[in-house]
């Protein structure tokens, strides 16, 4: 039952707008991408509107982070390519249970502060005695960020595709590349799922869980994802992945 639910997660995730950043979208307006370093002039002109990672200084729009600059029509932004995960409310993340307290579970989500999953936020009632039967230390879980406070991050398991991840394996990619792996409305991850027959859950923190019918397809899915994460400069990668799967049978 849960398997079906989980497969829907990525579609749902992209609908809820978690997939900001870069994907393979090629809109009607011409999009130009170049690598920029902090302080570099992206484009000159009074007309352009600096967005995320960009700022205006007189005539010029200047990059304020290292990444890919994108000029789409009048909008200018810099898409990050590297860096640690910065949590945001509503993100789905994958984490590992690091401790069980009286009120819930501590989850290591590989970010600035660790996550806390309160016992009430599990989808069904769990008594304090059976907490470690439901989620034991070291087990992997997909959870949604419910709130971010200075004290820490609160997680929830209430939602589609969330819950304990059993079997399979987890690996890491650079968190900034996650939107690329998901693709426009989940197109990329759906393609990989389709070609390999694996169940894939992607956390915005860069942790990816794969479970497939056999080891070979799991490894193939992982290779495909790492290939996508590596090819940051290629446009229209979803189409090119078709031929990648042809070559890497």
């Amino acid at each position: 039952m849960r398997k079906n639910i989980r497969q829907e997660y990525n579609e749902e995730d992209s609908e809820t707008g978690n997939n900001e950043g870069f994907d393979d979208s090629q809109d009607a307006v011409s999009v130009k991408r170049t690598i920029v370093v902090p302080g570099e002039v992206i484009i000159s002109g009074e007309d352009y509107l600096p967005g995320e990672g960009a700022r205006r200084s007189g005539e010029n729009v200047i990059a304020s982070r290292f990444g890919l600059s994108e000029v789409a029509g009048r909008a200018v932004k810099v898409i990050p390519l590297f860096g640690a995960y910065v949590p945001r409310r509503g993100n789905v993340v994958i984490g590992r249970v690091s401790d069980i307290t009286f009120y819930g579970w501590m989850i290591n989500i590989d970010s600035a502060s660790s996550g806390f999953l309160p016992i009430e936020e599990s989808p069904r009632f769990i008594s304090k005695e059976e907490m470690d039967q439901y989620l034991a230390i070291g087990e992997v879980v997909a959870a949604k960020i419910w709130s971010i406070k200075t004290k820490g991050i609160d997680l929830s398991l209430k939602g589609k595709g969330l819950g304990k991840l059993e079997g399979g394996f987890v690996f890491k990619v650079i968190p900034a590349r996650v939107p690329r792996i998901i693709g426009k409305e989940g197109s990329m991850v759906n393609l990989i799922k389709e070609k390999t027959g694996c169940n894939i859950t992607i956390g915005q923190n860069g942790w990816i869980w794969i479970k497939g019918p056999d080891m070979d397809s799991e490894i193939k899915a992982r290779k495909a994802i790492e290939h996508v994460a590596d090819q940051v400069m290629v446009e229209g990668l979803t189409d090119k992945m078709e031929s990648w799967f042809q070559e890497n049978k």
Binding site: I35, V37, E40, R65, L68, G83, A84, R177
Partner: protein
């Protein structure tokens, strides 16, 4: 000019620069930067939660720099661990880098910068700052600009740039002056001025313009290294 430097460089010539980004797989950002035989490696971790908690600033992130010479980096083995000199340079580096970093985006967190000198040959703090600046950019930290750093100096009465150890130890005439500086790449701001020795006040302007010129060379090297890590694909991890 009749004046000749020990290694035959021109007075405003830097030692050959090598720069590479993405050298430490486990760090969020990393870089290596060398002026000739003077090699620094930098790693950036974070933003991550700051411990001990009483050091947390609810308004902005804390930039924590740790600079140190590795024990094999100098000809007489250095006793491992931080000393007074390392502490001072850590702090100076922190002040040199923080003006360009947007720390207000990560309140309560820390950005850890580790700088280690693999091989020392005068001007280690400048190489360290250059490496750290690249590593910070590589870690995706929002920055206003990159920082370029180089030491100027004086050998007797001659102004020179990027002193080697031999030049730093020069003792004849007025002796040697070591003037470490860091500059914001695309603006006229200086973020570090550390003078060791003596220099007439009227010549400081001259030194600043010399450094501003060679900072461009360093900036180009940093830019090239950062762009290469994307195009040459440095693995997804």
């Amino acid at each position: 000019m009749a004046f000749k430097r020990v290694d035959g460089r021109k007075f405003n010539e830097l030692r050959p620069i090598t720069a590479k980004v993405g050298v430490i797989p486990n760090a969020d950002g990393s870089a290596i930067f060398a002026f000739g035989d003077n090699i620094a490696i930098a790693a950036v971790y974070g933003p991550r939660q700051l411990h001990p908690q009483h050091m947390q600033d609810p308004k902005k992130a804390y930039l924590r720099v740790n600079y140190d010479l590795l024990s094999f980096s100098v000809s007489d083995r250095k006793r491992p661990g931080p000393n007074r000199r390392a502490q001072e340079i850590s702090k100076a580096t922190e002040w040199a880098l923080s003006p360009v970093i947007d720390l207000s985006l990560f309140p309560g967190n820390v950005i850890d910068v580790q700088i280690y000198i693999l091989q020392a040959d005068a001007g280690t703090r400048t190489a360290g700052i250059n490496a750290a600046s690249m590593a910070l950019a590589h870690a995706g930290i929002p920055m206003r600009d990159l920082i370029c750093s180089v030491a100027a100096g004086k050998q007797d009465k001659e102004l020179i740039l990027d002193l080697s150890k031999e030049e730093e130890d020069f003792e004849e005439g007025e002796g040697a002056t070591d003037f470490a500086m860091a500059k914001v790449a695309n603006s006229d701001e200086f973020t570090l001025l550390q003078l060791d020795g003596k220099i007439p006040p009227e010549r400081v302007k001259e030194v600043l313009s010399l450094v501003a010129d060679s900072a461009k060379e360093i900036y180009e090297a940093q830019k090239k290294a950062l762009k290469e890590v994307v195009t040459h694909g440095n693995g997804s991890n």
